[in-house]
Symmetry: D2
Subunit: 270 residues, 4 copies
């Protein structure tokens, strides 16, 4: 039964490995997914720079669920062409976020994994469609979702006979406003006790401030995270969305350099 993946166990459950292209989540290595908040012109060159800095996989969303209707909503189909080029050129798998069942259909066959964003965590028709696609699904925690609700959302994907779910902690909403969200690093050890599914962490949305991304990335891996999702933009001050939390490529390379000894200190590798 798939839903055994969500049953609490008395001992820490054996980790389940989820493979995206040649990248393995839940094994000894800690893959890092990197990319801009949204695909913008120049994405292909940027993707090469991210691969050079150590990215295992590319983030490349073309539909953006923005708070306001007059904000940039993503490049859509035109952006998807850039994602496909970057994928072909770098040989790295790509992670793209659908916002609707229709997007799932459009993206299937052209991307390597789906990201279900925090705002969509309880969009049950979307979860089912992503599940039916058979592709790996990175399921972000809703901004106010408990662990139980998050795992129940995962169960919508798993129930479609798709065991390839990766859970992604991205910060919860609290009273503290100095950070965009409060990154709940505890989610990592809690979920590792409750489920064999890989758990990764997004310190970019989790903090909203670029200077906090590296220390929180180190913290996440020290706590046992199975991967990271990092926003990197060639020129954050000109980014069409989420500029303040995106790293420059050089800062990302520095993060990777600092991450390596921490991963090794907890018995992992990059």
């Amino acid at each position: 039964m798939l839903t055994d993946l969500l049953k609490p166990t008395t001992s820490s459950p054996a980790r389940r490995r989820v493979t995206v292209g040649e990248v393995v989540f839940g094994g000894p290595a800690v893959p890092v997914i990197a990319g801009p908040c949204a695909v913008e012109p120049g994405y292909v060159e940027h993707a090469l720079a991210m691969r050079a800095a150590g990215a295992s996989m590319l983030r490349g969303s073309v539909f953006k669920p923005r708070t306001r209707p007059d904000a940039f909503q993503g490049m859509g189909e035109e952006g998807l062409v850039l994602v496909e080029k970057a994928r072909a050129l770098t040989g790295r798998p790509v992670l793209v976020e659908p916002l609707s069942v229709e997007h799932v259909e459009l993206l299937t066959g052209r991307v390597d994994a789906f990201m279900i964003g925090a705002r969509s965590m309880q969009n049950t028709p979307l979860l089912r469609a992503a599940g039916r696609s058979g592709l790996p699904v990175v399921l972000k925690r809703g901004m106010a979702a408990t662990y139980d609700e998050w795992l129940a959302a995962a169960d919508y994907v798993l129930s479609e006979d798709n065991p390839n779910v990766i859970l992604c902690e991205r910060g919860i909403r609290t009273f503290e406003t100095a950070t965009r969200n409060t990154l709940d690093v505890s989610a990592v050890p809690v979920l590792r006790e409750r489920t064999p599914l890989p758990v990764i962490v997004d310190p970019s949305h989790g903090t909203g401030i670029w200077s906090l991304v590296t220390p929180m990335a180190l913290a996440a891996v020290a706590a046992g995270a199975d991967g990271l999702l990092i926003e990197v933009h060639p020129s954050p001050e000109h980014a069409l969305s989420d500029g303040p939390q995106q790293l420059r490529p050089a800062t990302f390379a520095d993060l990777m350099a600092r991450l390596k000894p921490v991963a090794e200190a907890v018995g992992r590798a990059l």
Copy 2:
């Protein structure tokens, strides 16, 4: 410009009236929308009882966004037939929740208004589709949405040239667990200062406990609410969802009797 509806004003803005069938939200009367959490067999008889107890409009959802995939997900098309019967028999307009763009298309022409649930508040394709339908939209506040984010979500509907948005406070997630959510009654006077759109309150989800529904309904109207959304079930202990928060018809009738003098005390009517 429609988005003037969302501009802060120095004085309290003139109320905008939104009409659903013959029911007016934002005028001197305080309409009450009542019905079970989900449409179940027996809905038609129940609708007659709710009309008799004073309901102005009927709640009748057939697609339910449940936390777990193995929970009752609504009667779907079969339930919609019951909703149409109840609508014809009672002469009361019906409010139904779509979960996807496809649902909006299915429901258009068969219901009087759309409810966008808390989990869908930032489902932007759904907001746009509901906006394009031209039908009035009851937009529930997301569980962790600020007033600003809620109004920005309303703007997705308004931006489709649909000015018929009714905002519905339904409780926010806080640290207090004795109630299902914390009903933020302050949302009523805050939003009445910020927008002319009608603001209604759902004390059923807002508290999660039937015995708190009547006092919180009175509080909401005393604070200036333009309407109420109340869960009523003929037999809550047998309800397929949300049993603990649904009122029996007799308790609902009692609520309506107690509400009348409070509405009058603040210059409103039922």
Copy 3:
């Protein structure tokens, strides 16, 4: 046993009446405690104006637990003299906040009731000292306290053989920042089910914005509150603390006029 006051009951417990001077909390009337955030020069004249506007009791704190050490910390002993004058002149009982055991000793015999502020809700030596004084204690809910923790704090007072506890909801801290706190009106019906102790509401701290005080005061009484605590200042723009949330005397008089029909609508009086 005193702690029976805190035991959950299957039916709504009979209300306990707590008397301060000639003012009764928990009976059919809804007393209103009014006064400035902190005692300032001019307090005596202001007290007369508040009595004229309908205040049953006076708020008059002379020690202020301010967030920053360089903020006004209250008039201390000098202010206490003003409080005593106001009390003698108006014939109204006074409510004063001690911050330490030493303050309890200083105030005993000179004030009619103690207010334990939100920041002090779990200051156990202070709770015990207030309990031992025998004076009625208005116990504010901590900013992040659950109902259970609040009642446990009340038990520290009750355990000193002092049954005269009045619970005061004053807003909790949530993610919403448009209001200073989120006034949890549900606390009123929840606590009325759990304890016979009177429950009053402070919409001034609960909202932090003067224009929201009146609608939330009406909401609180409609929900069953046994009293109100309202900040009123002769000239809020010159107040030494909490200016934005204090009512002018004329606005307070208007609140009282609008409160009367609401209280009557729920079977209470002013």
Copy 4:
């Protein structure tokens, strides 16, 4: 000016070192303070075991601010004698929590540093008294305190000409109930940007679950924490308070062994 310690700076401020006995916080080493939640009989033997496992300093509270009045409130003066014995025997400095000004006076000269607990973070008379003592003060973050409020509380101590403040993150209250609190690891890098004061982390209260303490301790140090505060009890199942979150001595020794490489990976030592 002392309050320069709290001024935001454009670059990361130079770290300030706070010395307790021979233990230095804010330098290259990461001291670990360990001990039971409350001093209980057997404390002296336990202290020796903690020193053997690598504790730099001992936690030894004798006055406990418990939620309920019928819970164990600490051993008081009798426990203080045990603390003094342990201090003499181990040569390790001791950290003790006062709940009132009177406690500060009682403890001065007998302990090495004061801990101001989360419930007391805004107890301004206590903060001032601790400041005046001249002893180092470990100031825990209040359960619902923003960074700004926490630093303002620190300013009450600093304003008494006492620059020896150590900030301690111990988890904040959020909607998630699977953990006792949500440990906000981001507090470490945020505060390191805002203040030169040392920042330590208490993963025991921060999680409330012993199995999460080690991963969160590693995370805290990876994020840059200047120290740790860990609850260790010889027999947690018999502890008079907070049993579920206390480590056994052997688990604590394991934590220390796993911490060493992580500290080194981020350029620190134990």
